[in-house]
């Protein structure tokens, strides 16, 4: 199956700092999503981004499908950004999506 690697595995930032999280995948995909898992365990949709660039407030994401990677940018980080960030991909949709998740990047934002 498709392999999804995320880096770095852990990241500690001071409030206000910027960061870039990376997701590499081993095969071509037609679906890629970024999620934030908050400290309560909830999975929050951040981006649906199989290709191109999107921005939502302080967050933006870029997927370069031909080179099999995606980047999540967090600017001016806040303590509420803490949690685990997952990248998830799907190689073929068929009749229903089956996302393969990466192992995540655990982010801690300190005051």
């Amino acid at each position: 199956g498709i392999q999804v690697e995320q880096s770095p595995p852990d990241l500690i930032l001071q409030e206000g700092a910027n960061s870039t999280l990376r997701c590499n995948f081993s095969d071509s995909v037609n679906n890629l999503q970024w999620f934030h898992q908050n400290p309560w365990g909830q999975l929050i949709n951040l981006f649906y981004i199989p290709s191109g660039t999107k921005q939502n407030g302080r967050l933006s994401a870029t997927t370069v499908a031909t080179e099999r990677y995606s980047l999540l940018y967090i600017s001016s980080s806040q303590t509420t950004d803490s949690g685990v960030y997952f990248c998830a991909v799907e190689r073929w949709a068929g009749t229903a999506s089956k996302l393969t998740f990466g192992t995540g990047t655990r982010l801690q934002v300190t005051l």
Binding site: F35, G41, Q42, Y48, E90, A96, K98
Partner: protein, 112 residues
């Protein structure tokens, strides 16, 4: 904004007992899923469901698991005889024609 809702948020059960986890997907979605996350690990696919039947299932989804859409709104995951290793967070998700998945808040299952 439409959302996927799950109940219960937390369930504690004894080993060997049956458990049913419930989900209400987003109303105009046609594809439904269950995922599982063991504490500290990544999220794993269990099963997808479309047109009242299973589309795909993982190796984890053995004979102890079943899914059902008993009416027009609910989507359930049943574990027939729970084992200690079934302790995990179970996420329901749904998607429409775009393929973007939306997840519920999860049901934490603790098997003692």
């Amino acid at each position: 904004e439409p959302e996927v809702t799950q109940t219960p948020s937390h369930q504690v059960t004894q080993m060997g007992q049956e458990v049913i986890l419930r989900c209400v997907p987003i109303s105009n979605h046609l594809y439904f899923y269950w995922y599982r996350q063991i504490l500290g690990q990544k999220v794993e696919f269990l099963v997808s469901f479309y047109n009242n039947e299973i589309s795909e299932k993982s190796e984890i989804f053995d004979d102890q698991f079943s899914v059902e859409r008993p009416d027009g709104s609910n989507f359930t995951l049943k574990i027939r005889s729970t084992k200690l290793e079934d302790s995990a967070m179970y996420f329901c998700a749904s998607s429409g024609i775009t393929g973007e998945l939306f997840f519920g808040e999860g049901s934490r299952l603790t098997v003692l």
